[in-house]
């Protein structure tokens, strides 16, 4: 009851239970700030940003610096040092070919993050194009495109990815295509609903009545307005792209072996675990999980900050 009284909008609601249409322009941030829940998430959000951002920055820095400072080639094979446990010379130990796992793990992390970033950007561009076209055109093209989205969504992502990679195997391009072609649907849905809500806003009406052509409205008014949404989608897709690439590489279907990503290292380390060489899997796995959590933490912070009402719409 106390919350009801404290809620400034409570009195404006009609008595019969039908809510007045929600105002569109971000009322949620202010409404949430007053509730205890809002404060709690605020504190947690900052902690998330600090922890996630710090960890991510450290990992990214290490991924760039370690292979460079180490001065050694992460691919350098040393058959005299096969499956050595962690030691001062090899802090993460060595793998079944005697390669130093410290260098290899960080080089792999760099590959994983790079590929994931490219995939996230490509699928955002693809999804934004489809979503914007769908929202702007309306009518049967809209229905058709949304049916395509539904159909792609009904195939499990990893399976569709495996089919694409299997048929065009052994190239980085195939991996990127496999991830981009399976992850654009969420972005398409979000951008479409954003365009639909933008279409009725006064500034669009104003532009049209001011004599702006269709192309100009699209270029100057609609597209800039969906950029924040699309950028957020890219960041939210990053952890998924990392996950997907790692899973494909782990199964031996992902990046070619010379481009060692964390997934490749883990896949090759599978047999070594059975021989008791736990470090071959443990250190890269810890790096992978840390990177995934850091990226997810930053992404969640950004999402809550920019779109408090849209918490779960991506379904991510």
């Amino acid at each position: 009851m106390a919350e009801l009284l404290a809620d400034p909008t409570a009195g404006t609601r009609p008595v019969d239970g039908t809510r007045s249409p929600a105002p569109r322009w971000r009322p949620a941030a202010r409404a949430r700030a007053g509730t205890p829940r809002g404060r709690a998430t605020g504190g947690r959000a900052r902690a998330r940003l600090l922890a996630g951002g710090g960890l991510l920055a450290a990992l990214a820095l290490a991924a760039v610096l370690v292979p460079w400072l180490g001065g050694l080639d992460p691919r350098a094979v040393d058959y005299g040092a096969i499956r050595l446990p962690p030691s001062p010379a090899h802090p993460f130990g060595t793998d079944a070919q005697g390669r130093d796992l410290l260098l290899r793990s960080f080089a792999g992390l760099r590959v994983s993050l790079l590929v994931a970033a490219v995939c996230a950007v490509v699928s955002t561009v693809l999804g934004a194009a489809v979503g914007a076209a769908s929202g702007v055109l309306g009518g049967w093209p809209d229905r058709l495109l949304m049916r395509v989205v539904d159909t792609v969504n009904s195939v499990p992502h990893l399976l569709l990815g495996i089919v694409i990679v299997a048929l065009y195997r052994g190239s980085v391009l195939a991996v990127i295509a496999s991830i981009a072609l399976t992850h654009w649907t969420g972005v398409a849905r979000i951008v479409r609903s954003e365009v639909l809500s933008l279409r009725d806003r006064p500034f669009i009406d104003a532009a049209i009545s001011g004599g702006a052509s269709r192309g100009r409205v699209l270029r100057r008014h609609l597209l800039p307005a969906i950029v924040p949404q699309a950028a957020l989608s890219t960041v939210l897709l990053l952890p998924h792209a990392v996950w997907h690439e790692t899973a494909l590489s782990f199964l031996g279907l992902g990046l070619p072996p010379h481009l060692a990503s964390i997934g490749n290292i883990l896949g090759e380390g599978r047999a070594a675990v059975l021989l008791g060489s736990w470090w071959i899997v443990a250190f890269p796995a810890v790096l992978l999980v840390a990177a995934a959590l850091a990226v997810a933490g930053v992404a969640a912070w950004w999402r809550d900050r920019t779109l408090p009402r849209r918490r779960s719409e991506l379904g991510l």
Binding site: L167, R270, G276
Partner: protein, 332 residues
């Protein structure tokens, strides 16, 4: 509820099922055709698959004759038509990597996957319900904070990492469970053998699905605890256990059922990874075998099968929710 209302409800549900099945057929056909076209556009020549290493020693006439016999020189549409006609008449083709008809592969392997996935799903549901309810009940307490933190952390751990850790600890370290496979080498598939080998993969698959479910149960139970009918139950002086378990939990479980239905794709994905790590002879492991060998007939059949599972999962969840909740309209 009167008989007439029940009868109209049944008709509504039957209509819902019929409509969704009617929607599923074109989706399955599109997926099948899509996979076929992807394969047709692939630079990979099926003749290499058919011959294996022998392709380098075979004569050009041999190759040409085989291509003609397999119909590889026909147009894409002709091949597509032939393939679809085969499926319509019940012939799914022959898997080249497993050297069996595709239908036989599915018949032999599907039961093992269903067993694994069912046990994993039960593990995940029990774990998430218990942990989620207790966490929401003592919101802000130590257990709640632990469950939330572990749940968020586990979301970042891929199933195959979990599987490797489980093998290292429980199979190699403690020796409680066998490392992999369906039975010990050469042993017949007796119930005792299978159960012992099933335990670890099913636990890993179940636990890997749990984080989302736990956090969801916790969140929706917390939301339900704030609803008016729960406040009413409290005001009537009912015991805390009755309020939470009989009044709040049922409302919170409805979205949980929907969530379970939409998580079939993740379950399939998890099964692919877990079955591969544990060499479990299920259908999901065959996906990887088929992909590594570019075994197109098997890959296409399995994609269609997985899509059917996804559609069935969401349909089953919707029907269950409509059955459990009279407020849900089944004709929407």
């Amino acid at each position: 509820m009167s008989v007439a209302v029940v009868g109209s409800r049944c008709r509504e549900l039957a209509l819902l099922v019929a409509r969704r099945l009617a929607f599923a057929v074109p989706v399955l056909v599109i997926v099948a055709v899509g996979v076929f076209l992807l394969a047709a556009a692939s630079p990979f020549d099926p003749i290499y698959q058919y011959y294996g290493v022998d392709v380098f020693t075979a004569t050009a006439e041999d190759l040409a004759a085989t291509r003609a016999r397999l119909g590889l020189d026909d147009g894409v549409l002709t091949q597509l038509g032939r393939w679809l006609a085969g499926i319509a008449s019940g012939d799914l083709g022959t898997s080249r990597s497993l050297r069996q008809p595709v239908a036989q592969v599915i018949a032999e392997r599907l039961p093992w996957t269903l067993l694994l996935v069912t046990v994993a799903l039960v593990v995940a549901i029990v774990l998430s319900l218990v942990a989620g309810v207790v966490a929401a009940w003592c919101q802000g307490g130590l257990f709640d904070r632990m469950v939330t933190a572990i749940g968020h952390a586990m979301e970042g751990i891929p199933p195959f990492v979990l599987a490797l850790v489980a093998i290292a600890i429980f199979a190699l370290g403690l020796g409680w469970f066998p490392v992999a496979g369906l039975t010990d080498a050469g042993a017949p598939a007796s119930a005792e053998q299978v159960l012992r080998h099933l335990a670890l993969p099913a636990l890993v698959l179940g636990v890997s699905q749990t984080p989302w479910l736990v956090l969801h149960v916790r969140g929706s139970l917390l939301a339900a605890l704030g609803e008016d009918h729960v406040a009413g139950a409290r005001a009537r002086g009912l015991t805390e256990a009755t309020v939470v378990l009989r009044h709040a939990l049922p409302t919170a479980l409805l979205p949980f059922v929907t969530l379970l239905g939409t998580r079939v794709p993740e379950l399939v994905t998890g099964a692919v990874l877990v079955e591969t790590v544990f060499s479990w002879p299920g259908i999901a492991e065959a996906v990887v075998t088929a992909a590594l060998a570019v075994d197109f007939p098997l890959l296409a059949a399995l994609s269609v099968l997985a899509t059917a599972a996804v559609l069935l999962g969401s349909l089953a969840a919707d029907v269950a929710v409509a059955l459990a909740d009279p407020r849900v309209r089944a004709d929407g």
